[in-house]
Symmetry: C2
Subunit: 419 residues, 2 copies
């Protein structure tokens, strides 16, 4: 078996040096990586073509093939992603708080790099570059463990990153690809206490579960999104339909897509016919009794079923929307806090009191008023790129950008103080 | 076997309610607990007397007996600790950052309670109250698992807390003592995924190791402190001796006590005779060759030994100080980053460049200039009380107060935005 021990050592040493690089030097190194990816475009696309051909041969589903595939537009978008990270402010050394103790000691709480982070991810090769660029900017070394299906693509991208860091006079050892393809490699990463400061699994529930169960290093759970939109009775119903459509249809496989529509009883007769007409032929509705009745004349193309208990629990990631009627705001909040996964939740309302209660009482990473849940995303939030979306409360929550890759240090200046 | 399942459920429900309490109501509840502890003083001291008698019978060492023992002064100090937490600003709902996206969405990053936390701790009954009061103020429910040696004391304190919360119209279910004395209880806590948001073990290395190895919930590592003082050549040598003495002698069993003195070669001849005279008869010195020679005439009461490699690695927690000569600031930083535990590190210097390099390059929770390492403490830092001192970088680092008990939530307000 290959062992990652030498890689861990290289990453740790590189991180100690990277932690001392200033913003300008880090940006130059990132620009080096960006330019080298541009120059390596043909090699990256050729490697990706090989990955895609192998995946097709092995019978991979079209949706996954699409996630795996690169083309010129996607390479452009990867390159733009690095530029977006370069444009972000370096968080390292920022003074987050400062105060003076009664004895005269001056305390500063400064941001410092988190250390060495590992990313475990599936299919999408762009994650290789997104995670690398955020980590580098935050002074963190990074171990990248993509899926075996994207191995050639990731190797080509990682080679371009390494050469680009050399060209840009950066710390080339600060990024490494774990590419043995060996499943034991994941366990070695999960157990690398003293070497890896955090593991971020990005992928399906099985990957997340495996990481959480086996890890001896800190794990940030990501991704599970059983998201709700609650249409309160005062909502603008036409606008509500636009938002529901967007949150369900624009990218149903995304973790921030809506899965259950909660509709206040008083709003159902106005809302449901509009929802049924807008989604007919595109989305299957699984309705409770009252919301179903409220549709009235069922549009011919609408697939309409009765909802079961398990529908409230399911992240469909598909063109399916569960619909439940609630009497009150309280019931809506209780339903969300019971069935939600703490990802993204929205209320559509014109009522200030309902809005503030929903914002306060719903326990989720992102809570929206009169907007689509689809905005839960590092890029949309202005973080440059995204490390993943944390659904835990520990260390990081919601879309993770540079801030999630930092820790703190207290710098204390005195003039002889003793206790 | 008892199971904590019903306790977990009660804590989780209580936390959801506590999260919505405002600062004034939480302070009233904390004042209730404080007053009830005052009223229960006799019962608490009687319970503690029983614990101490049992511990003596079982042959507990004097230092531990001292940590276990309560008296009127210590009860007063416990009560003052609650007042200090009442005086701290409530972190919950603080807007930590706010910005508007190009599409008009207004994003707020707000502080929210971390959730349900569990503390595993040894001997000292005051921890029961310190952790409870910080947690309550931060909107967190808390499961307290003290050592079996302090069981009666902790029961008396927990009973007073519960009654006090009732008196103060607070959420009485938000604090629970795990008091079966069963060792399996600890494992049940460590594996309570979905119920416990973080476990904080406070105690010896064995407790910490066990928590980290067995936990399926997030753990905050605390306590290990192999701390250094580096005397740079420009330091004021008389002030340096005061600081070294304080950091070693004032409380050698504390995690923030100094364990190794690093002295720059050029400073050794001036410093070491002063150190030897000041510590003679109180502290054993374990010196490398040059620092030993630099002492010159050895004071009659001084216990002086040669240092071995293992001395650089050891947290003595005793009246022992290892001393090593280094040629340069670089060597000092390298030694600290190699042997230190990332707890508390100090440089004594008058040189601005050396000071700034040390602050930047030493990788530790707290880095001091011209002050004793003994200030690494929640109370000293002005946090009211202390949950423990984190020696990890993930989620929290250094002395943990209210901030360590918070997470974030993004509140996003729109007017119909779709993606």
């Amino acid at each position: 078996m290959n062992t990652l021990a030498p890689t861990f050592k290289t990453l740790k040493e590189a991180q100690a040096r990277l932690a001392l690089e200033n913003e300008s030097r880090k940006n130059t190194a990132l620009a080096g990586a960006r330019d080298q990816i541009g120059r390596s475009r043909a090699a990256i696309l050729a490697a990706n073509t090989a990955d895609v051909a192998r995946a097709r041969q092995q019978g991979m589903k079209n949706a996954l093939i699409d996630r795996l595939s690169l083309d010129d537009t996607r390479i452009d978008s990867i390159i733009q992603g690095i530029d977006a990270v370069i444009a972000c402010k370096d968080p390292v050394n920022t003074v987050k708080a400062a105060w003076t103790l009664p004895n005269g000691l001056a305390v500063e709480q400064r941001a410092v790099p988190l250390g060495v982070v590992a990313a475990l991810y599936e299919s999408r090769p762009n994650v290789t570059v997104d995670v690398f660029s955020l980590a580098y900017k935050a002074g963190c070394a990074v171990l990248l463990r993509g899926s075996s299906s994207a191995l050639e693509s990731n190797r080509a991208l990682a080679a371009a990153i390494t050469q680009g860091l050399i060209d840009g006079k950066g710390i080339a050892g600060a990024a490494a690809l774990a590419d043995s393809g060996d499943r034991d490699e994941v366990d070695e990463i999960l157990r690398a206490r003293g070497w890896i400061d955090a593991v971020i699994p990005r992928g399906g529930p099985e990957l997340i579960r495996r990481a959480v169960e086996n890890a001896r290093v800190p794990v940030i759970q990501t991704g599970a999104g059983n998201c709700h939109i609650f249409v309160e009775q005062s909502a603008d119903m036409n606008r509500a339909v636009d938002i529901i459509e967007n949150a369900k249809v624009q990218k149903p496989g995304a973790c921030n897509a809506v899965e259950t529509l909660l509709v206040q009883k008083a709003a159902a007769p106005a809302l449901m016919p509009l929802v049924a007409r807008r989604l007919a032929g595109r989305v299957e509705l699984r309705c409770d009794g009252f919301s179903k009745e409220s549709i009235g004349a069922v549009p011919p193309e609408l697939v309409l079923r009765g909802a079961a208990e398990e529908d409230w629990e399911t992240e469909f990631l598909d063109y399916i929307l569960a619909v439940k009627t609630v009497e009150t705001l309280d019931q809506a909040i209780r339903h969300i806090n019971r069935y939600g996964t703490g990802h993204s939740e929205a209320i559509l309302t014109q009522d200030a009191a309902a809005r503030e209660r929903f914002l306060r009482e719903v326990d989720a990473a992102c809570v929206y008023v009169n907007a689509s849940t689809r905005f839960t995303d590092g890029g949309e939030f202005g973080f440059g790129a995204e490390l993943g979306i944390s659904t835990q409360k520990f260390h990081a929550r919601g879309p993770m950008g540079l801030e999630a890759l930092t820790s703190i240090k207290y710098c204390v200046r005195g003039n002889g103080q003793i206790r």
